[in-house]
Amino acid sequence: MSSLQQTLTLAWRSLLQLRRNPWELMDFSIQPILFLLLFLYVFGGAVAGSTAAYLDFILPGVIVMNLVFVTVYVGHGLNTDLTRGVFDRFRALPIARWSPLAGRILADMVKQAWCVLLLLVVGFLLGFRLGAPVSGVLVMLALLLVFAFAMSWIMVLVGVVARDPEHVQLFGFTALFPVTFLSNVFVPLDTLPPFIRAVVAANPVSLLAEASRGLLSGGPVLEPALWSLVWAGVITLVFAPLSLWALNRRLARS
């Protein structure tokens, strides 16, 4: 069996777990829909004048916000495997050393794609219509997955360092809430006070949301998309080696 097949098998295993974990399924299926509905109908009138106008703005934003939160499951799942001894079982098998980690990240990509499509469908049901070519949806999906991949490395580090899966979740959400809210996901950049505007403008969540809006409804795409990719590259370059170093260190210490 090739290492690619091993990775696919391990990804299949991660997805199989979902059936037994309705909370996780809820978390990344129902929660984003709930967010979308709440923000749309509570803030829509105030922010954009009407819910219909706000939908164009908030849908890509919620897609990006949810993407960031779902990456926590990479760390959560990895930590569960490490603390429960499942990771050791895999390591004692004659399979590629990197396939357990790759399988988990791959499964995460599938979950991410599912969330994006789910939110798009719900958006359409609420009246959202594409204002740009359909190919934009695919480009957006690719862009989002590249960024999710980069974020996965941060979560691998969290999963390795955390004592137990609960701490992964706690850390993940505590750190990610400010990151997603200090962005243009919910409100346009020019409504913000100047002193946080620079931070919000540079936040990769803002950049991704802006690129996604452009790809779905028309507007600037190239610049925010390129900056998002730069962020993804930097995050990967920093966190992939760091996470692997931390993982090997943890494995060598027990």
Binding site: M1, Q6, T9, L10, R13, L16, Q17, R19, R20, N21, R84, G85, V86, D88, R89, F90, R91, A92, L93, P94, I95, L251, A252, R253, S254
Partner: protein, 322 residues
């Protein structure tokens, strides 16, 4: 002699703790080696090194002739490993867990299903096969874990405290499964802190303490090192324990150890027993248990280290903590 497992001078240091301090092991093919020691003795560390999960700081080891450091992949394809804690995926069913391992080992979809079905029957898990592992009892989990380590039909099996935390019934079930594997020719390296377990399963026992081998040999050889015998006495009524204690102390000339209502004392002269019986009779004490037995492995450990071997910490996983 054909060796399935060989280790020479294994050393492993975790921070300030020396988990292994120069361990040599040799396991002939088709036999069971019992690695016996209290928590923190280094048993798990030794198994993790032999199973390629951990690199030793010094020393060398071979499994089926393959070096664990330079030929790790070859070692992994020859061994089965059952950890101290059931290392199966709790969210998956028993069947899914076995199919997963089989697929990773390169079985085709059809063969993986067949092998999983076979093992589920063999390990009495057929009825629970479709249930997620998180609903299993401790004994079922351990059986599934053992089954998972046997998917690839390894000739060499590492069992790290396979029955720790199991009730006596589940423990006996697991013992029988292990005996069957051995009868089929599997080489087993078993770690345990239960003396009874090493005594009943292992051909040869290596006693380790604080990372060092302190004794090795067959169960009988180890017991013979103690010489002497042990008198065990349990009065029928607990109120008689104090009187019985003073009688035995007086006759044997050494104060027995009291374990609940049971007294234990090493005796060098079997002729003392009738004297004990007479005095008990005179005092009207009825004995529920009165035996003279050969030394147990616990006695061996006590003699070798001055401590009991069967002291368990509640957590049970203090071993190898950094």
């Amino acid at each position: 002699m054909d060796e399935a497992i060989r280790a020479e001078g294994l050393v492993k240091q975790f921070g300030a703790t020396r988990a292994l301090d120069g361990i040599d092991l040799s396991v002939p093919r088709g036999t069971v080696l019992g690695l016996l020691g209290p928590n923190g003795a280094g048993k798990t560390t030794a198994v993790r090194i032999l199973a390629t999960l951990l690199a030793p700081d010094a020393g060398q080891a071979w499994v089926d002739g393959c070096d664990v450091a330079s030929e790790a992949a070859a070692v992994r394809s020859r061994i089965g490993l059952t950890g101290q804690y059931a290392s199966v995926d709790e969210k998956l069913t028993g069947r899914e867990n076995l199919i997963l391992i089989a697929r990773l080992l390169g079985f085709s979809r059809r063969d993986a299903r067949a092998r999983a079905g076979e093992l589920l029957v063999e390990f009495g898990l057929e009825d629970a096969a479709h249930r997620p592992v998180q609903t299993y009892s401790g004994g079922m989990r351990r059986r599934l874990d053992l089954a998972a380590s046997l998917v690839g039909r390894p000739r060499i099996l590492f069992l790290d405290e396979p029955t720790t935390g199991l009730d006596p019934r589940a423990r006996l079930d697991l013992w029988n499964l292990i005996r069957e594997l051995v009868a089929q020719g599997t080489t087993v390296l078993l770690t345990t802190q239960y003396l009874e377990e090493a005594d009943s399963l292992a051909d040869e026992i290596v006693v380790i303490d604080q990372g060092r081998v302190i004794a090795s040999g067959t169960s009988d050889q180890l017991k013979a090192r103690i010489g002497g015998q042990t008198l065990v006495l349990a009065p029928e009524h607990e109120s008689d324990v104090a009187t019985a204690l003073s009688i035995v102390t007086e006759i044997v000339g050494r104060e027995p150890e009291v374990d609940g209502a049971r007294l234990r004392v090493p005796v060098s002269d079997p002729a003392l027993v009738p004297a004990v019986v007479r005095r008990l009779d005179e005092s009207g004490i009825v004995a529920r248990e009165l035996t003279l037995r050969g030394a147990s492995l616990d006695d061996v450990f006590l003699t070798l280290t001055g401590r009991h071997a069967s002291v368990e910490t509640p957590a049970g996983d203090a071993e190898a903590a950094p």
